[in-house]
């Protein structure tokens, strides 16, 4: 009888705890501003953390962003699937920073985050800052299925003096490094302007402990401590447009 009660209690507690955590969530924000405006936003679900700051001075800003989460089809691996869309249009002087992370993360409620020592997980992050004096348009989609896949697609275009600073970092730390686990990373960046036409393209697959492929990046990669880094530094003063995609895919056994 006691055993049955204990078992029943465990089931009840499980249901109570699962219900709020596994609920579908939808959040959106729309901002229309003329003057000076700032936005700081952080979002975490499951293993994915996203942060952005937009600072617009003496201009206009129009932002739409929506995020939806739902239980992953792979609940033992990640818990929650995430998708968000972003559409930003500004005039004036704009600084746009964003960070996107997946993997061994530790959320700190008081703001900020740090990457925990990864243990049997993949960890990757993207940091990007765009500064623009003129017209800027950013459209972005991010999707994570909750099973150690993360996709970022983005199109940026506009006019005026612009710089792009982007860093992509990833690594894998597993129980059996070099044996079973593979990291696949796909990155592409097509930058189109009169002053600085540039194309990067990379598809890399490697196992832990092996040097990944290298191709056409301005700084690529430092395989120090199995941490792989790709940096982009681009500036222009003309009309510009660039498309970029990053796709992390960990095959963790």
């Amino acid at each position: 009888m006691k055993n049955k009660i204990i078992g029943l209690m465990a089931i009840v507690m499980a249901v109570v705890m699962i219900a709020p955590a596994m609920a579908d969530t939808y959040i959106s924000v729309d901002v229309n501003a003329a003057g000076t405006s700032k936005i700081w936003e952080q979002l975490q679900t499951g293993h994915v953390f996203e942060e952005e700051m937009i600072n617009n001075v003496v201009g206009t800003m129009k932002l739409h962003k929506d995020a939806s989460t739902k239980p992953s089809d792979h609940p033992t691996q990640g818990g929650m699937a995430l998708r968000f869309n972003k559409n930003l249009k500004t005039t004036g002087n704009t600084t746009f920073y964003e960070g996107l992370k997946i993997g061994g993360l530790n959320w700190q409620k008081n703001g900020g985050w740090h990457v925990e020592t990864p243990k049997n997980v993949g960890t990757g992050y993207i940091k990007e800052t765009i500064t623009n004096l003129g017209n800027l348009s950013v459209e972005k989609v991010v999707y994570s299925s909750g099973d150690w896949h993360l996709y970022e697609g983005k199109e940026v275009k506009g006019e005026g003096i612009t710089t792009l600073e982007k860093r992509v970092v990833w690594w894998t730390n597993t129980k059996n490094p070099g044996l079973d686990d593979r990291t696949e990373v796909y990155m592409s960046l097509d930058f189109d302007s009169k002053t600085n036409p540039t194309t990067f393209d990379y598809v890399g697959t490697h196992t832990d402990g092996k040097t990944p492929q290298q191709y056409k990046f301005s700084k690529w990669p430092s395989n120090k401590n199995k941490v792989n880094i790709a940096d982009f530094h681009i500036g222009t003063d003309e009309k510009f447009k660039f498309n970029q995609k990053v796709h992390f895919n960990w095959d963790l056994q």
Binding site: K2, N3, I6, G7, M9, A10, I11, M13, A14, M17, I18, P20, A21, M22, A23, T25, Y26, I27, S28, V29, D30, V31, N32, A33, A34, G35, T36, S37, K38, I39, W40, E41, Q42, L43, Q44, T45, G46, H47, D66, A67, T69, P75, G78, G79, M80, W107, K109, G111
Partner: protein, 125 residues
């Protein structure tokens, strides 16, 4: 016996792990000048516009979205949804307030000077 207790503990730990996968969010929007912000959380919508200054802080924790608003100038606040809303504090010397609806709670809040709300949303947990 021991095996069943162990199973119970493992179940609880597993569920705690899933619970940690919950979505959390923080956002701060601040504007000086004309500004309008529309925020949606599931079926709840919150909309505010002003012509002077606006600061909104939103935190989503435990499936509850708490919003605090500071605004000056002239503008309008609208909310709609099926949850209960609670204005914990307000400073609205020259404001007019209209509440409408039963069941589905809606109100329109016209302000002409300052408003200061904290904890505008108490969304169903």
């Amino acid at each position: 016996m021991k095996l069943k207790i162990l199973f119970g503990i493992i179940t609880i730990i597993f569920c705690l792990g899933l619970a940690m996968a919950e979505t959390t969010m923080h956002s701060t929007v601040s504007c000086v000048g004309n500004c309008s912000v529309v925020q949606t959380f599931n079926n709840e919508t919150f909309e505010i516009s002003t012509n002077e200054s606006l600061n909104i802080n939103s935190d989503l924790v435990n499936n509850t979205l708490n919003v605090s608003v500071n605004a000056t100038g002239s503008g309008e606040l609208k909310t709609s949804g099926e949850s209960d809303y609670e204005i914990i504090s307000s400073v609205d010397d020259e404001s007019e307030k209209t509440e409408k609806g039963t069941g589905i709670f809606q109100f329109v809040y016209n302000f002409f000077k300052n408003i200061n709300f904290f904890g505008l949303f108490g969304v169903i947990k």
